[in-house]
C-alpha cells in the first residue's frame, strides 16, 4: 500500500492553491482530508504527479453567517461541522447526517468540501446538499462562481468543477425550526450506504407545510425526491400519508444492480427509508 511517487505542495492561500493547480494542470489533484483520495492513491488506482494540500488554508475552514446565509468552508472537518453552533441551529439535517459519516477517525480528518467534490454516489453528504438546495461556491483562475447542488453532481465521481477550479465553500439557507433526519441503511457500521435518505420537513398543526427529501446511492448522483416532496406538502404528517407519499421515492432513480443489493431491492429500500426518514424528521 505505497502510492506512486508524487510532488506535494501545501499553499497557505487560496490564490496560491489556484496558481499551483493552474501550473499542475490535469496531472494535479486536490488533497482535502484525504479520506477517499489516499486509499485510491495507495491502491494505485490513481497516480497524480502533484498533490495540492488545502489543509493549511485558513480561509477555507469554519462556518460563518453571511446575512441569512450559512457558509461552511470547504475544508471544515466533519467533526467541526457537527460541533458548530450555527450548523446545529440552522442546518440540523447537515449535523445529523454528518454524525453518521464513517467513523470518528474519518470525521476528524475528512471535510465537507472534500466529500462533496469526491462525489461518491454512496457518500452521505451529497443528499444533504441537494435536499437543502446548497450553493456550491467555486473559485477558479477567472474568479468565483456559484453552482446549485442540483447541477453540481453530474455523474459517478464527477462534478461541475473544472480541472482548474477549487470548491471553497457550501452556502445554505437557514432551515432553523425544521425537523430533520438522515435514514442510513448499511449492512455493517463500516460499510457504505446501500441506500440512504435525507429528509427535512416543516410541520404545522399536524400538516406538512414544507419538505425536502433527497436520496443517497439511488443513481450516479444524489437525487432530489421532488415527487415525494410534492406528495407530502399540505398533507398530514401521519404514518399512512407519509408512507403513501414515500412511494414516489423511486421516481427518476437508477440504482445499481449488484450482488450486494439488486436494483429492485434498492428501489424498495428507497421507499421504506423515505417513509422512515420523513416520519422521524416530522418527529
Amino acid at each position: 500500500m505505497i502510492p506512486a511517487s508524487f510532488d506535494y505542495t501545501a499553499p497557505t492561500t487560496l490564490a496560491d492553491a489556484l496558481a499551483a493547480l493552474a501550473q499542475g494542470g490535469d496531472d494535479a489533484k486536490i488533497l482535502a482530508g484525504g479520506q477517499s483520495l489516499l486509499p485510491v492513491l495507495k491502491l494505485r488506482m490513481a497516480a497524480p504527479g502533484l498533490l495540492i494540500d488545502l489543509g493549511k488554508i485558513d480561509e477555507l475552514r469554519g462556518v460563518r453567517m453571511e446575512g441569512d446565509t450559512i457558509v461552511v468552508g470547504a475544508m471544515t472537518t466533519h467533526h467541526d461541522v457537527i460541533a458548530d453552533p450555527l450548523v446545529r441551529e440552522h442546518l440540523s439535517l447537515l449535523a445529523k447526517t454528518t454524525e453518521q459519516v464513517a467513523d470518528a477517525q474519518v470525521r476528524y480528518r475528512g471535510t465537507l468540501g472534500g466529500a462533496l467534490a469526491h462525489a461518491d454516489p454512496a457518500g452521505d453528504l451529497g443528499a444533504v446538499a441537494v435536499a437543502l438546495d446548497a450553493q456550491m461556491r467555486i473559485a477558479g483562475p477567472n474568479g468565483s462562481r456559484s453552482v446549485p447542488a442540483s447541477q453540481f453532481f453530474t455523474d459517478y465521481f464527477t462534478t461541475a468543477l473544472a480541472e482548474n477550479e477549487i470548491l471553497t465553500g457550501i452556502a445554505f439557507d437557514s432551515f432553523a425550526g425544521w425537523g430533520a433526519h438522515y435514514e442510513k441503511f448499511h449492512t455493517v457500521s463500516q460499510a457504505w450506504s446501500t441506500v440512504a435518505v435525507a429528509a427535512a420537513v416543516l410541520v404545522a398543526g399536524g400538516t406538512v407545510t414544507a419538505a425536502r427529501v433527497a436520496l443517497t446511492n439511488m443513481g450516479p448522483t444524489p437525487i432530489r425526491a421532488r415527487g415525494v416532496e410534492a406528495a407530502l406538502i399540505d398533507g398530514p404528517a401521519s404514518d399512512d400519508a407519509v408512507r403513501a407519499a414515500a412511494l414516489a421515492a423511486t421516481q427518476g432513480t437508477a440504482p445499481v444492480d449488484d450482488a450486494t443489493a439488486p436494483a429492485a431491492y434498492r428501489s424498495h429500500l428507497a421507499q421504506v427509508l423515505t417513509g422512515r426518514a420523513v416520519l422521524a424528521a416530522a418527529g
Partner: protein
C-alpha cells in the same frame, strides 16, 4: 493468627494479560518491525488472471528501475521445490505440483509470477508495474458442483480430473453403528418415520487476521544458519516443512515467530511468500523482507470453509433420529494447502454431534477450482459440521412441529451415559448437555421470548422475532498422535515443554506452542505459579523460536492449553520430583516424609522446610547435593493425550428481522460453554467473545466471492464485511464445568468454541422469524437483501394456500 496462609490459587483468577503492556505501549516486535543491515525489500508481481499460461515475462524495465537489486521469475529459482501438502487423506489423493513461483501456468488470481528486490519497499513496489507478463488465458473453473461431476474443464491436465479425493466413513462398515443408507431407505417407506433432505452452502471465508503475513530471512548466520522471522502460527512445522519441501537442511534453519497479530488458522501454512523470500535472500546473500498488503492477504492467503453440504436425516415421528447421511463437496482451491484436504475430514467426526445417532455415513469429495487454496480457519471442519447438524435439528423440529429444544433432548447423550462412544467412533469422556441447556434457557428467558414472538406474529409487527438454538460439541486439543496417524496426518499431535529453574527464583518455561494473541503467556504463568508455588510474576514463558523452543508442534485446533499446557504441568512435576530428593537431603529426612505444597518442601509433622527457590539456588551452587544427583532441577516433558477434549455448550440467539428491509439485528445472545476447568475466566471470555463475532459474521456478513472468471470481488474490507463491536450484541456468557478426563488439569480447548457454535444459532433464529412467510432457507451470509428477497419469494410461494401467516405484510 500467624499461621502461613496459602496464597490464593492462580488457576481460576481473572488475571489481566502479561502480554498487553508490551503490545499496547508500542514496544511490539512484529516481523515487519525487523530491520537488518543491508536488508532488501521484496514486492510480488501477481497474476491478474485465474487460469492462464505464462507465455513471456519481460523484466528488463524493472531491472533498470531505481533501487532495484534483482528480479526473479519462476525459472530463476531452479532450487524451488513444490509446497507440500501434509495431509494425504487417501492413498490415491491427487495433488498438483505447487511451485512457490510458478514457471508455466497460473491457477488462481494472485499467484506470484515474479519477485522484485529493491533497496526500499517503495522502489520494489514501483518496479512491479514495470514487469511485462504475457498470458494466454485458459478456461476458469469456479463451480464446485461442475468440478465434481466432471462437466467443468480439467484444471490440472496431468491429473486428468478436478476431483482430488473422496473420503468415506460408514458406521456400518466401521462397526460403530448401523448402515445409514439402509436406515434412510427403510425410513422412506415407514409411515412412522420421516426423511429430511437439505442442501446447505458453507460460503468461503477469509481469516482476516489483523497483522498481514510477513517474512524476514537472514541467510548469513554463523555456521551457515538461516534465520527466518515469520508471522506464522507454526514455526516448528515451518522448519520441518522447509526442509522436506525445499531441501534446506533442518539444522541450518532457525525460525522465529515474534509477536504475531492473530491467525485464526490463516497462518497455519507454509506459504509461497515465505519460500520466495528465503530463496531471494539466499541467492543474494543478503537479508530480505517481504510484508504483504491487505489486498494481497485477501487475494493470496488461504481462505476457509467453502463446501456444499448435502444432508439426509431420517427420524421417527417422536423426533428420534434413525439415520444420517452427509455428502460434502469441498473446494480445495487451485492446489492442496498444508492441511487443506483434511479440514473437511476433521468434521467427519462431528456431524453426529451430541446426539445418539444409530447409523451414520459421511462422504467428502475434495475438488479443485481456480480459486485460492482453502485450509484451516477457526474451527476447521467442525463449524461446518456443527452448522449442518444444528440446522438439521431445527429442520427436523419444523417438519415434526416440535420445539427445537425438545427434539435435541430426545436425541442427546444424557450426562449419566458418559463416557460415550459415538457412531463416528470417538469416545466422549464427559459432558452435561442438560445442565448447560437449562442454564442457557434461564439466562435467555426462553418462554418469555417465545410469547413475545407469538405476539409479534399475531399483530403482524414489522419486526419479527426468531429464536435459534445450537447445542454443540467439538473435538479439540489436536493430538492424539495415534488418531492423527490413523487419518494419515503427516505429523504427531504431542506437545513439548521444558522448565529451567534459575538461581534467583525465576522460572523459565519453554513451550512448543506458538501464541499469536491468545494470552498463553498469562495462562501458562498461572498454571506454573500454582504447580510450583512460585509468584505469578516470577514465571517467564518462552516460545516461538526454534533455537529456544527446539521441540514443538505449535498452535491451532484449540490445542495449546489442553495439550501444550499439560506438557508444562508434566515438566513442572518433574522439577518437583527432582527437588524433592534434594529437599530430603537438605532437611536430613527421608524423601517419603517430605510433603510439597505452595512452593515449600516440609518434613511431615515438623516446621522444618525449604522452598523450591532455595533448592534452585542449591543446584546453582552445587555445594551440598546428595551423592549422584545432578546439579539441575531443569526438566523436559512431552504430552500426548489419549483422547481429544470435547468442549460443549448451548447457545441461544434471539434475532429480530425487519421485514420491510430484511435487516437482522441480534436482540439477545446467550452462550453457556463447558470448557472444563477454567484457568483464567478473562481469557476464556475473550476467546468466546471473539469466536462468537467470527461465527456470527459467517451467518450474517462475511463472504469471499469470486466472479465466474475467477476474480475475487470481495477483495477489500469495503466488500468483505467484517463486523465491528457496533454491529454485534452484548453477549451473555456463562459456563458449566465438567472436567475433561483426558488430561490432569481437566481443561478443554476454548479457542474455537464460539465460532463453531454460533453460526447455526443465528441462522436458525433468522429462519425461525421468517418461516411464517413460507421461507425455507436463506443462504449465508444472510444479508438484508437476501432476507428481504426470501420473504418476498416465500410470501409469493405461500400466497393463496397459506392461512396461518397472519403476520405477513
Amino acid at each position: 493468627m500467624t499461621t502461613t496462609e496459602a496464597p490464593p490459587a492462580e488457576i481460576g483468577r481473572p488475571r489481566t494479560r502479561k502480554e498487553d503492556q508490551h503490545l499496547i505501549t508500542g514496544h511490539s516486535t512484529f516481523t515487519d518491525s525487523m530491520v537488518l543491515p543491508g536488508m532488501v525489500h521484496l514486492a510480488m508481481v501477481r497474476s491478474p488472471l485465474a487460469h492462464a499460461t505464462i507465455t513471456s515475462i519481460d523484466t528488463t524495465a524493472a531491472r533498470k528501475a531505481p533501487g532495484v537489486v534483482g528480479v526473479w521469475t519462476g525459472r530463476d529459482f531452479p532450487e524451488q521445490g513444490g509446497l507440500a501438502c501434509a495431509w494425504p487423506i487417501t492413498p490415491d489423493m491427487k495433488s498438483p505440483v505447487h511451485l512457490p513461483v510458478p514457471t508455466d501456468t497460473v491457477n488462481h488470481v494472485g499467484e506470484i509470477v515474479a519477485v522484485i528486490a529493491a533497496r526500499t519497499k517503495a522502489e520494489a513496489v514501483d518496479a512491479v508495474e514495470l514487469v511485462d507478463v504475457q498470458y494466454s488465458e485458459l478456461p476458469v473453473v469456479t463451480d464446485l458442483a461442475a468440478a465434481r461431476d466432471g462437466s467443468a474443464p480439467v484444471i490440472h491436465g496431468d491429473l486428468g480430473t478436478n476431483v482430488s479425493a473422496t473420503w468415506v466413513f460408514d458406521s456400518g462398515a466401521a462397526g460403530t453403528g448401523g448402515d445409514a443408507s439402509a436406515a434412510i431407505e427403510a425410513a422412506r417407506s415407514d409411515p412412522d418415520q420421516i426423511v429430511v433432505e437439505r442442501t446447505f452452502r458453507q460460503q468461503r471465508l477469509i481469516p482476516a487476521y489483523m497483522e498481514p503475513r510477513s517474512t524476514v530471512c537472514d541467510p548469513n548466520g554463523a555456521g551457515d544458519q538461516i534465520t527466518i522471522w515469520s508471522a506464522t502460527q507454526i514455526p516448528h512445522i515451518l522448519r520441518t516443512m522447509l526442509t522436506l519441501s525445499q531441501g534446506i537442511p533442518e539444522g541450518k534453519l532457525r525460525i522465529i515467530a515474534p509477536d504475531v497479530g492473530g491467525g485464526f488458522g490463516g497462518k497455519l501454512e507454509v506459504t509461497p511468500e515465505e519460500v520466495a523470500t528465503i530463496m531471494v535472500a539466499r541467492q543474494l546473500g543478503k537479508p530480505a523482507k517481504y510484508t504483504e498488503t491487505r489486498s494481497e492477504t485477501m487475494m493470496a492467503a488461504h481462505h476457509g470453509r467453502d463446501q456444499i453440504q448435502h444432508l439426509t436425516m431420517s427420524a421417527r415421528k417422536d423426533g428420534t433420529i434413525t439415520g444420517f447421511d452427509v455428502d460434502l463437496t469441498a473446494n480445495m482451491g487451485a492446489y492442496l494447502a498444508l492441511v487443506g484436504p483434511g479440514v473437511p475430514i476433521l468434521g467427519a467426526f462431528m456431524y453426529n454431534a451430541i446426539y445418539k445417532i444409530p447409523a451414520y455415513r459421511f462422504s467428502c469429495t475434495n475438488v479443485f477450482t481456480n480459486e485460492v487454496m482453502t485450509d484451516a480457519y477457526r474451527g476447521a471442519g467442525r463449524p461446518e459440521a456443527t452448522f449442518a447438524i444444528e440446522r438439521m435439528m431445527d429442520e427436523l423440529a419444523t417438519e415434526l412441529g416440535m420445539d427445537p429444544i425438545e427434539v435435541r433432548r430426545r436425541n442427546w447423550i444424557r450426562h449419566e451415559e458418559f463416557p460415550f462412544t459415538t457412531v463416528a467412533g470417538l469416545t466422549y469422556d464427559s459432558g452435561n448437555y442438560e445442565e448447560a441447556t437449562d442454564k442457557a434457557l434461564r439466562h435467555f428467558g426462553y418462554d418469555d421470548l417465545r410469547a413475545e414472538q407469538q405476539r409479534r406474529r399475531e399483530s403482524g409487527d414489522r419486526i419479527q422475532l426468531g429464536i435459534g438454538t445450537s447445542t454443540f460439541t467439538e473435538m479439540c486439543g489436536l493430538a492424539p498422535s495415534r488418531v492423527l496417524g490413523s487419518l494419515s496426518y503427516g505429523a504427531g499431535g504431542w506437545e513439548a515443554a521444558s522448565i529451567r529453574m534459575l538461581p534467583t527464583g525465576v522460572v523459565e518455561v519453554v513451550t512448543g506452542i506458538s501464541p499469536h494473541g491468545q494470552g498463553h503467556v498469562t495462562g501458562f504463568s498461572q498454571i506454573v505459579a500454582d504447580r510450583l508455588g512460585v509468584p505469578f510474576e516470577n514465571v517467564k514463558i518462552l516460545h516461538g523460536d526454534t533455537n529456544i523452543s527446539a521441540k514443538g508442534l505449535d498452535t491451532y485446533g484449540s490445542r495449546s492449553l489442553a495439550v501444550g499446557g499439560i506438557a508444562v504441568v508434566k515438566a513442572a512435576d518433574k522439577v518437583i520430583a527432582k527437588a524433592k530428593t534434594i529437599a530430603a537431603h537438605l532437611l536430613e529426612a527421608s524423601e517419603d516424609d517430605i510433603d510439597f505444597a505452595h512452593g515449600s518442601f516440609t518434613v511431615r509433622g515438623t516446621e522444618s522446610s525449604v522452598t523450591i527457590g532455595d533448592i534452585a539456588l542449591a543446584t546453582f551452587t552445587g555445594h551440598n547435593l546428595p551423592d549422584g544427583v545432578e546439579s539441575s532441577l531443569d526438566s523436559e516433558a512431552v504430552f500426548d493425550p489419549e483422547n481429544f477434549s470435547f468442549p460443549h455448550g448451548t447457545h441461544l440467539c434471539a434475532a429480530e428481522v425487519d421485514t420491510e428491509t430484511g435487516k437482522v439485528t441480534i436482540r439477545k445472545y446467550v452462550a453457556v460453554d463447558d470448557v472444563g476447568v477454567v484457568i483464567n475466566p478473562l481469557l476464556v471470555d475473550g476467546q468466546v467473545h471473539g469466536g462468537l463475532a467470527q461465527g456470527i459474521a459467517q451467518a450474517l456478513y462475511e463472504e469471499a466471492q469470486y466472479s465466474a472468471d475467477g476474480q475475487l470481488t470481495s477483495g477489500t474490507f469495503v466488500d468483505y464485511l467484517v463486523p465491528s463491536a457496533v454491529d454485534l450484541p452484548d453477549y451473555i456468557t456463562d459456563k458449566t464445568i465438567t472436567p475433561s478426563t483426558s488430561n490432569p488439569l481437566g481443561v478443554k480447548g476454548v479457542g474455537e468454541a464460539g465460532t463453531i457454535a454460533s453460526t447455526p444459532a443465528v441462522v436458525n433464529a433468522v429462519l425461525d422469524a421468517v418461516r411464517q412467510f413460507g421461507v425455507a432457507d436463506i443462504p449465508m451470509p444472510m444479508t438484508p437483501a437476501r432476507v428481504w428477497q426470501a420473504i418476498q419469494d416465500g410470501s409469493t410461494a405461500a400466497g393463496s394456500n397459506s392461512s396461518s401467516t397472519g403476520g405477513a405484510a
